[in-house]
C-alpha cells in the first residue's frame, strides 16, 4: 500500500511539481489548494503525511494543521510537515514553541531532504488509519453508507424516531456558544441553560470546530469579531466540515452591525440570523427559539423522507 500524501499548496505550479516528484517516487498524492480544502480532504482521506505550505491565504497553515490534527485524532493523525520560505527562527516564534508540525522543510524544497523527512516522519509514527479502515470495511461506497443508514432507520420503532426530535422540547436542543469574551460566554450559557437548552462553550473558532467535530449541535452562536479565525471563516468551515444538510443553525453576534462593510454584510449571508449584542438577551433568545424550531422541523422532515426511501428500498424489512 503506497504512502498517502496530501499536498497543501495554493500555488498550482508548485503543487504540480511537488506532486509530480512524489508520484514519481511511488507515493499516492492528492492536492488541496486551500486550508479549507485540506481539512475536508484530510478528514476522509486517511493520509499518512500532509505537506503543508505554511503561508496560505484564508485559514493559514498553522490553523489548518491544528484543525487536521484535532479532527483526525480518532481515525489516525497524519504526520504534518510544514513547507516555508520563512527562516526557522521566524517559524519557531510564530508557533510559540508548541508546534503541531512534526517537521519543517525550507522552501524551495530539495527532493532528497524532503523525501528523507517524509520517510523519517512516516516510519517514526505510521498512520494506521487507512489500513484499519480498509480492513474493517469502513471505506464503503456512498451507496453502501446510505443502505446502512436506511437499514438502521427501518429497524427503529415509530415511537423511538418520533421521540428523537421534539420541536417544542428545548432539552433536546444543543447549542454551542463561541465568544472570546469569557464574561459574555458565561452570560449566554447561564441564560440559555435557564431556558432548558444544553449549552457548550468555545473561546475561539478553532475550539468551536473541534467541538463541532466531536458533537452534534442544533445551533451555534458565533461572535463575529474573533482573533485568528473570525466568525465568518468559522461559519464557512462549519459548512465545509459538517455539510450543508447537517449543519447547525448559525447565529452571528456583533457589537456594531452598522459598521460592517458591504463585503462583510454580503458575507454574513452564511448566517441564519444576525443579532446586535446591544439588543439585549430577549432578542437573542427569540432568535434562538426560532432557529431551534426551524432546525427541528428540518430534521423531522429528513427522518420521514429517509424512512420512506428505506421502506421503498427494503419493503420486507
Amino acid at each position: 500500500m503506497p504512502t498517502r500524501i496530501l499536498v497543501v499548496e495554493d500555488d498550482v505550479m508548485q503543487s504540480d511539481v511537488l506532486a509530480a516528484m512524489l508520484e514519481e517516487q511511488g507515493f499516492y498524492v492528492e492536492t488541496a489548494e486551500s486550508g479549507m480544502d485540506a481539512i475536508k480532504k484530510a478528514r476522509v482521506g486517511w493520509f499518512d503525511v500532509v505537506l503543508m505550505d505554511y503561508h496560505i491565504p484564508g485559514v493559514d497553515g498553522l490553523a489548518t494543521a491544528r484543525l487536521i490534527s484535532d479532527l483526525t485524532k480518532a481515525t489516525g493523525r497524519p504526520r504534518l510537515i510544514a513547507l516555508s520560505t520563512a527562516t526557522e527562527a521566524l517559524l519557531a516564534r510564530e508557533v510559540g514553541g508548541k508546534t503541531v508540525f512534526d517537521a519543517v522543510e525550507k522552501k524551495p524544497w530539495a527532493p532528497q531532504s524532503l523525501l528523507a523527512t517524509i520517510k523519517r516522519c512516516h516510519e517514526a509514527a505510521p498512520n494506521p488509519g487507512y489500513r484499519w479502515a480498509a480492513d474493517n470495511e469502513v471505506l464503503v461506497s456512498r451507496s453502501g453508507r446510505r443502505r446502512r443508514m436506511a437499514e438502521q432507520l427501518v429497524t427503529m420503532s415509530d415511537t423511538e424516531s418520533s421521540a428523537i426530535h421534539d420541536e417544542t422540547d428545548p432539552e433536546t436542543a444543543h447549542i454551542l456558544v463561541v465568544d472570546d469574551d469569557d464574561l459574555l460566554q458565561s452570560f449566554f450559557k447561564l441564560a440559555l441553560e435557564a431556558e432548558g437548552y444544553g449549552v457548550d462553550t468555545a473561546t475561539n473558532g478553532l475550539d468551536a470546530l473541534r467541538k463541532i467535530g466531536l458533537s452534534r449541535y442544533d445551533l451555534v452562536i458565533l461572535d463575529y469579531q474573533m482573533p485568528e479565525i473570525d466568525g465568518f471563516a468559522t461559519a464557512g468551515l462549519i459548512f465545509e466540515l459538517v455539510g450543508k444538510r447537517d449543519r447547525p443553525q448559525l447565529i452571528a453576534l456583533t457589537s456594531a452591525p452598522e459598521r460592517l462593510s458591504d463585503q462583510e454584510k454580503g458575507s454574513l449571508s452564511v448566517f441564519d440570523a444576525i443579532i446586535s449584542k446591544s439588543h439585549g438577551m430577549e432578542s437573542v433568545l427569540a432568535a434562538v427559539r426560532q432557529s431551534i424550531a426551524y432546525k427541528k422541523r428540518q430534521s423531522n422532515l429528513e427522518v420521514v423522507n429517509v424512512k420512506q426511501l428505506a421502506s421503498q428500498l427494503y419493503p420486507s424489512a
Binding site: D11, M13, V17, A20, M21, T85, A86, K107, P108
Partner: protein, 157 residues
Amino acid sequence: MLIAMNALDIPMASLPAMRNDTAASAPQVPCPAPAAPAPGSDLPVLALATLKRTAAFLKPAVLVSHLKTLTERGETLLRGLRGAEALTGNSGTLASSAHVLAGSAGMFGFERLAFVACRFETAVQSGAIELPDLAKDLSAALEVSIHEMRCFIPAAG
C-alpha cells in the same frame, strides 16, 4: 540547442527546445556585479543542477508552461515594483507576489531571485526601513532571472 542540453545534462526527451544560441550559453554567463555587494548577490542566478532535477519530474511541455508562468509572474512583479507608489500603497500585494515567486523560482533553480524575493517579503511584513534598497535588489534579480527564463521558452510559432 545541443550545447544547452549538454550543459544541463538533462535527458533529451525532458528538455524543451531552446530558443537560440544566446539562450544556450546564458546559464554560464556570470552575473553582473553590483556596485555594493547585496545579500544574495553571491548566489547563482540559475542553479543548473536544481533546474535539471525539477525538469526530470516533468514532461517537456509542462516544464515550458511552468517557465512561461514563472516569467509572467516575474514581469508582473517587476512592473509593480516600478510603479510610482509601489512601496507605499501596494506593498502588501507586492509581498504576496514575492512570496509566490520565492517558492516557485527557487524550485526551478533561480536561487538569487528566490532569496531576494523572500527577504523582500519578510521586510514588507516587518516594516523594515531598508525596503527601498531591497526593492532595488529584487528588481535587479528579476531582470537578470527573467532574461535566463526566456532562454528556455521556445519562440512562439
